[in-house]
């Protein structure tokens, strides 16, 4: 409980930093003026006001992705489960591109149904393929199936993109995963979906705890394993697909945050899930702020930052010998 409070405190600090720091230097009094003066009277205040939705979106997306990762890792009992590595993001990406190309889906909100469909289809395919066979979905099989499916989806994607330069121009900015340039108007319609995903995720916590003992023991304890898996899977697809639709594919956050959280909480999902969400929100904001600072006067999209920071963590997890099972 104390840890969660500390985490919440950290979120406040990072949110403040996210409002204070950016490509344009704005002094603290001006930031406060920007927060209190509506509408903005000068450029500095306007800059601060564009940082508000960006910060909120960062919190939402970070928490959603980390939660999706934690639930996915619990449901598959696989320490390497991550939406981006498992091809879920590319599934969403392909569907969004088809949406842009065929139906002219231009706004973030209209990306959502496409991304959800693509994410769901890709995750079912990847998990289905990987879990065939006697050993079930081992980390290696899951990662390979995901990487291979990603590669396939990517070449289909480039087939669409190469014939439509206009779609490429829109897509390449969506693809890097960024939380800038979105307004509250685009966020509001997707909030209920994310909320539903989060509720389902927390509801699945007990089931995931039972699953962690192994399917046979879980069944012996009276837990219906397939219901737990289905609820968790639905939560992960809702959270990850929607977050991907509004912010683009952001990799490695869903992978690394649950591992970080597990260091504080141990394996109990009732604590693990909220910790993951808080840590994910905080780290996404931190990565975004860092991306704004290292490439001044431009900024580096947060999806790039999380990949650069997260890949070493992934490799470290793999290098530790005991990655077999959760």
């Amino acid at each position: 409980m104390l840890g969660l409070l500390l985490g919440a405190l950290g979120l406040v600090v990072f949110s403040a930093l996210s409002l204070l720091l950016g490509s344009r230097s704005v002094a603290v009094p001006d930031v406060i003026a920007g927060l209190t003066t509506w509408p903005a009277t000068d450029i500095a205040q306007a800059a601060v006001q564009t940082r508000i939705p960006r910060t909120v979106l960062g919190l939402i997306v970070g928490a959603s992705l980390a939660l999706a990762g934690a639930v996915l890792q619990g449901a598959t009992r696989n320490p390497l489960a991550d939406p981006a590595l498992l091809g879920v993001s590319n599934g969403a990406a392909l569907a969004v591109v088809v949406g842009i190309a065929v139906a002219g889906a231009g706004t973030a909100a209209s990306h959502v149904p496409w991304a959800l469909g693509g994410a769901a289809a890709a995750s079912v395919v990847v998990y289905g393929i990987a879990s065939l066979g006697r050993e079930g979905a081992t980390p290696l099989k899951l990662a390979l199936a995901g990487a291979a499916t990603s590669a396939t989806l990517y070449s289909l994607l480039s087939g669409v993109l190469l014939s439509r330069t206009d779609v490429l121009d829109e897509f390449r900015f969506w693809q890097v995963g960024g939380i800038g340039g979105t307004g509250f108007g685009e966020m509001l319609p997707v909030l209920p979906v994310l909320l539903l995903g989060a509720v389902l995720a927390f509801a699945s916590a007990r089931g995931l705890d039972a699953l962690a003992l192994g399917d046979d023991v879980a069944r012996g304890l009276g837990s219906r394993t397939w219901i737990a898996r289905a609820v968790a899977g639905l939560a992960a697809v809702l959270l990850c697909g929607t977050a991907t639709a509004i912010a683009g594919p952001i990799g490695f956050l869903g992978l690394t945050m649950p591992h970080l959280a597990r260091m504080f909480t141990g394996p109990d999902h009732r604590w693990l899930l909220p910790y993951s969400a808080v840590l994910g929100a905080g780290l996404l904001l931190a990565a975004d702020v860092l991306g704004r600072l290292v490439a001044r006067p431009g900024d580096i999209e947060v999806g790039i930052m999380t990949a650069v920071l997260g890949a070493p963590v992934f490799i470290a997890i793999v290098r530790r010998r005991r990655v077999r099972e959760l």
Binding site: V125, L144, Y154, G159, R172
Partner: protein, 317 residues
């Protein structure tokens, strides 16, 4: 047999284009006779394209098979374990951010492919032949793809389009100046791979058994990786990573030539795949697609089938 199929594929590539020439016209044009139209098109445009396609296919086919055999995993092709991604990332950064073009991009791509392989070997430590190498490769690949995405947003839309075409793998930039370096590299590396191939048998028995048979396991494996990475990097530098050629060639060759390690057949099949896919992409579809889109679309169903089959039989996955 396969060599004959390859020759036929080359010939068809030379004959078919905007205008179709009869084989005898093509051969006369190649021999230097003046044939209206064909004298320019065939030797200047189509021959380098066919040669580049064939050479790159040879390189990808052989390299893919080496990786798949060495890592004992049909999915461990350079496409998937990040080596192609290393070459691509460097090339895209060179095109889109540094504004480079031509041979220097290729050189950077080769160097970076080799560098990534080196990093993989170092990170994987002693367990080269195993799941760790593959998983680390996937992680590094994901990191490099983020670099590619970043570079794409920093470029103008024309450069981004050019870079994407390059990422997919395309023979559209295949003209004469690029052929000699590629030919020399393949002429050196492919025989080297064939010379090393007999050691596979011993390596597959495990390191201890290999040592007992007088095959230095660690060193053989290192050399095989060096050769395979060289082939991938050179091929990628010439045309971009043509999706799934490295991945498909080995298993197809294994089906056709059972028993042995099918290195040479796999190389030939790689070449045939590239040429046929290019013909399809250029002429059979409405829009002209680069070859990588076609091989990707062909590779996808096969990949899914392979995954489900090896998983069901509890194979080496």
């Amino acid at each position: 047999m396969l060599a004959a199929v390859l020759l036929a594929a080359v010939l068809v590539t030379l004959c078919v284009g905007e205008r179709v020439y009869a084989p005898d016209q093509v051969i006369r044009a190649l021999l230097g006779e003046r044939v209206p139209g064909a004298s320019f098109t065939v030797p200047r445009l189509r021959l380098p394209r066919a040669l580049t396609g064939a050479l790159v296919g040879l390189a990808f086919g052989a390299a893919g098979t080496i990786f798949q055999t060495l890592l004992r995993n049909a999915l461990a092709s350079p496409d998937i374990i990040g080596i192609s991604a290393g070459a691509s990332a460097a090339a895209v950064v060179a095109i889109a951010i540094l504004g480079l073009s031509g041979p220097i991009v290729s050189a950077i791509a080769v160097a970076s492919g080799i560098l990534v392989a080196l990093v993989l070997v170092l990170l994987a430590g002693r367990g080269i032949a195993g799941s760790r190498f593959v998983l680390i490769g996937i992680g590094v690949g994901a990191l490099l793809n983020a670099v590619v995405s970043y570079a794409l947003t920093r470029a103008g839309v024309d450069q981004a389009s050019q870079a994407l075409r390059w990422l997919t793998g395309s023979l559209n930039e295949a003209f004469w100046p690029g052929v000699p370096p590629l030919a020399i590299a393949v002429a050196v590396l492919l025989p080297a791979a064939l010379l090393l191939a007999p050691r596979f048998g011993a390596l597959q028995l495990g390191d201890d058994a290999a040592e007992a048979l007088g095959v230095p396991a660690a060193r053989s494996r290192l050399w095989l990786i060096v050769v395979a990475v060289g082939l991938v990097a050179v091929g990628t530098a010439a045309t971009g990573p043509i999706a799934f050629v490295a991945f498909l060639s080995g298993p197809i060759a294994g089906r056709l030539v059972p028993g042995r390690i099918p290195l040479l057949p796999a190389a030939l099949i790689g070449a045939v795949l590239v040429l046929v896919a290019d013909l399809i992409g250029q002429h059979l579809l409405g829009t002209r697609f680069p070859v990588g889109v076609v091989t990707g679309a062909v590779g996808a169903p096969y990949l899914l089938w392979l995954l489900s089959r090896t998983n069901r039989t509890g194979g080496s996955l």
